[in-house]
Symmetry: none
Subunit: 203 residues, 4 copies
Amino acid sequence: MVVSGKPQAADKRARLVEGARELIYRQGLERTTLADIAAETNVPLGNIYYYFKTKDELVDAIVAAHAEDRDALLAGLERRKTPRARLKALIGVLDGTRDAVSRYGCQIGTLSTELDKRCGTDASAGSQRLSRSLIDWAERHFREMGQPDPRDLAVTLIAACEGTARLGHSLRDPSVIHRQSQRLRRWIDTLPDAATTEHGGLA
Amino acid sequence: MVVSGKPQAADKRARLVEGARELIYRQGLERTTLADIAAETNVPLGNIYYYFKTKDELVDAIVAAHAEDRDALLAGLERRKTPRARLKALIGVLDGTRDAVSRYGCQIGTLSTELDKRCGTDASAGSQRLSRSLIDWAERHFREMGQPDPRDLAVTLIAACEGTARLGHSLRDPSVIHRQSQRLRRWIDTLPDAATTEHGGLA
Amino acid sequence: MVVSGKPQAADKRARLVEGARELIYRQGLERTTLADIAAETNVPLGNIYYYFKTKDELVDAIVAAHAEDRDALLAGLERRKTPRARLKALIGVLDGTRDAVSRYGCQIGTLSTELDKRCGTDASAGSQRLSRSLIDWAERHFREMGQPDPRDLAVTLIAACEGTARLGHSLRDPSVIHRQSQRLRRWIDTLPDAATTEHGGLA
Amino acid sequence: MVVSGKPQAADKRARLVEGARELIYRQGLERTTLADIAAETNVPLGNIYYYFKTKDELVDAIVAAHAEDRDALLAGLERRKTPRARLKALIGVLDGTRDAVSRYGCQIGTLSTELDKRCGTDASAGSQRLSRSLIDWAERHFREMGQPDPRDLAVTLIAACEGTARLGHSLRDPSVIHRQSQRLRRWIDTLPDAATTEHGGLA
DNA sequence: CATGAATGAGCATTCATTCAT
DNA sequence: GATGAATGAATGCTCATTCAT
């Protein structure tokens, strides 16, 4: 009774986005052709255009999927009780994916880097949004911790994560990511508690 | 006086590498065609192949040029007396180029990201070398400062620089780079001056 | 009252022909896709094939619709009492539609021109019929006027109309059509009223 | 000594324009693919783009070639001594090409009709110029003949020619073109001479 | 009958690479 | 060595037509 129906369309669209995302993650945006994606997802080339009018539109959908995933991920981190724990959990995500990251880089970072070369397009705007909302999330938690300059701290944290991913990838070495993750978590632990630090803390 | 011979060849080669590097920096590796490069450098398209058998070979030369430039840059930093000053001067380079970086990203970072998608090629090996030697340089200075875990500190520093460049570019905001540069310099300043180790201490 | 049955089918078919005709008039035959027509008429793309097995068949129906409209138009002109008045009324039709004609050309002329490039098909035969019957109508009236060479006069008139439409369209100037229409009506007026032949004269 | 050189480039470009023009004349603009043109002219498909960046640019060149040919043709007609003779010679051109015209239509007319559906493009502007300059030429000669309203007379003549070509093509009947050509020449002959007609001629 | 989805041949265009001179 | 031209395999995209339900 609850069976099939006709969820194929949504299925296929999602399958396309997912397959394209994976392929682009591994091969890069510009090196991945729609024919590649068609083969990977078993969707006939011409049919892709039923779901996405252009390659750019598919890329937009991928960026949107990244945004959704990241929102879900951040939401999942809210289970932790304290902002400090949440921030450390974010670092834990990087650490937990260090094998994939050392092989293919950061999903968001590598895509954004290519997107950012497409000046003035929707894609490059999407890239901007992707980065910004991660920073926003971190900022909120640093603020909740009562840190001064929570924005700058957030940028420091996200930049550290992205930079670590970049180097871990370039060096093809997951242990680099692991060790930096530990350092970052320790750094978070070092941050003083709340209001007292407002005037005069060194961070 | 004895010169003449054919300094043109070397000239042209250098012009090609330089023009290609600049163009690829602004447009991305995969989006830049040999025809673009020919036009930019005023070298006839067909003639490029006299100097580089393939596009990949040109890219290798660009990576080599980056390595040279970076060596020269690091060598220039040695004018500073102390390792601390040298490390801060490196950060100063990022800060000083923040306008270009916020517009086009980090020269090495954006190129490496594209190169790293070309698994197993010479290019991706070159990218690895590029990152590694920067870290090596920083490591050496942290060691000279007598820091424990100088390798990890070096990775932390370079990752911070690269991550900052990535975010500054994605957000198109040079001020982000400026503020993070200041934080990084302050961080270097706060590192203890482990003088004991400098002159042979054991710890 | 007894109706209902399924007037929708006929409706839809007519809607398709009408919408397609309009769209093709504005955009040209080869530049108009079945998807365009589906969107314009609110008929699902797949459903078009229930009414027309191929695009060519739809085009045939459009040609047939043009033929019907033209027959109705010519029939309407018969209200005028004299052949002279009827011929002038035909010119009046061109004059009265000069705004649309200067924007999109003559409906029959522009379609025929594209149809005629499809040698040997039914379509090009339809185009031929379309032109011929207009000429036939004019010929009949010139004959009733007792003109010698009524066939040639008819061709002259229709050619003048079509040519005027073509130039008015190319120049995007309705006033050209208006002035030529006046000239043509004046020309019809100057034709001698060869009354003798009307009632059986020999000449 | 005077032999080869390297006129290939110009040759090939001209060959492309000529072949494309012929093919488009026979098959229509939208139905003719660059692959067709490549095959017809024995120019490899990819190589066409060395000479024309887009299909539209090739079309522009075809329009320009038409303009040149038409200028040369009109210039050739100037050999005739009187404007009357020149105008009749223009009609003679139509008459002389009636076989091709009845088979494929008027070169300029059929192309313009398709071009005019491409609103707002360079192409449709080219079409406009093509028509206008023919009319200008005729106007000049009617004026030299001392006719009143030379502009309208010019439009009448060119419209008659174009309309005749359209009908001759639709009916696939060269004799129609021949008879109309005769009528047109007779009409030119009928026009009164010079200034006396200025006030009161009926035309 | 209706319809969203599928299909695949075809199209304009690009571009690294090669060729002829 | 230098260079304009040539080449052909791809690439993104279109569209008439068909299929499955």
